[in-house]
Amino acid sequence: MDRLRVISFSAHDAASNMALDEAIARAVGAGASPPTLRLYGWDPPAVSIGYFQEVEGEVDMDFCEANGIGVVRRLTGGGAVLHTRGELTYSLAVSDRDPAVPQDVQGSYMKICAPFVSALRELGASACFRPINDIEVGGRKVSGSAQTRRFGAVLQHGTILLDIDERLLCALRAKMEKLRERGITGHAQRVTTLRRELGRRVSHGELSRAVKRQFKEQFGCKLDAGRPTSGELCSAPSLAERYRSVEWLFRR
C-alpha cells in the first residue's frame, strides 16, 4: 500500500453508510479505486446488527421507530452496535492481495486496529487491542470492529466511542437485559468513552487527525485526501435500497 485515499468525516443515514462502504469495497476489490480509509458518522442515530444476527433478538424495533433510530444489517459479522452522534466510525477497504493486510483474520484485525490504538494513546488514553476485534481502555471496550472479505477486497469497519447517549441504549435488547441483570452500572463497567477516560470532549476532527497520522506512519503510505469516485457514487443508491429493504433486514 503506497497510497491511501482518505475520505474525511461526514455523517449519513445507516443505509447510505453501509452502501458507501460496500460500493468502495467493490471498487477497491475490482482495482478501480485505491485503498481507502473513510471516516464517518451516523445521522440520524442507528443500530447496526451483524450479518448473522437475528434482528428481533437484538433490536427493540418499536423503540427505534419511536425515537427516529435507523436499523440496518451489516455486510460484516459481529454484534449489534448503537451508533450515536458521539462516535467516530471508520471503514478501511484494501485489495485482498495487498501485503499490507495479513491473510490471517486475527492478524489483520490487529494490524488494522493498531493505528487506532496508537491514535487513542496519542490523545492520552491507555488503549490496547483486545482479540478478537476490540480496543479497550482500562479493561473497558472503547472500540469494536468487524471485517468481511468479499469482492476481492478486505473491508473492515469499526467504531470509536467519543461519547454516548445512554438514553438510546434501550434500542439494544441484549444490552438492556444485561443492564437489568447487573443494574444500570453494568454498561458503564464494560464500555467506556474517550470523554470519560480523558475527562474532556474529543471532537471527530481531533481523533480523525490522530488516526490519519498513525495510518501514514504505521502503513508507511502517502495519504491522499479524496472523495468517493463517480463510479462509487453511482452504485451506492441501489446498494442503499437493498440495505433499506425488509428482506435484507429480516433475512435472519
Binding site: G50, Y51, F52, Q53, E54, G57, L75, T76, G77, G78, G79, A80, V105, Q106, I132, A146, Q147, T148, R149, R150, A174, R252
Partner: protein, 89 residues
C-alpha cells in the same frame, strides 16, 4: 414438525443460537445466528442448506465437509455440530 433452539456463549464471548426444525428426526431447516464471523459469509449459509434432510448421525459428517473452506471466527465447527445435535436429541 418440531422446532428447538439452543443458545450458547462460546469461548471468546460470542453468543450463538442454533434453531432446528425437524420432522421424524430429519432436519427441515437450520438457522445459525449470533455475533460471530464466517469468511466467506455465504459458507455458513451453505452449511445450513446442506444440513437439510440430515439425521442426527449425519450431522457431524455434513458440517465437517460443508465447513471445509470456511474460516470461522468466534465460533468453532465443533460448537455447530454439538448445538445442532442437541437440538435433535
Amino acid at each position: 414438525m418440531v422446532e428447538r433452539s439452543v443458545s450458547r456463549k462460546v469461548k471468546g464471548g460470542k453468543l450463538v443460537k442454533v434453531t432446528v426444525r425437524s420432522e421424524g428426526g430429519r432436519i427441515a431447516e437450520v438457522r445459525i445466528t449470533g455475533d460471530f464471523f464466517a469468511h466467506p459469509e455465504e459458507g455458513l449459509e451453505q452449511v445450513e442448506r446442506e444440513l437439510r434432510g440430515a439425521t442426527v448421525s449425519e450431522v457431524r459428517k455434513t458440517v465437517e465437509s460443508a465447513t471445509g473452506g470456511v474460516t470461522l471466527v468466534g465460533l468453532k465447527r465443533e460448537d455447530i455440530i454439538e448445538m445442532v445435535e442437541e437440538c435433535l436429541e
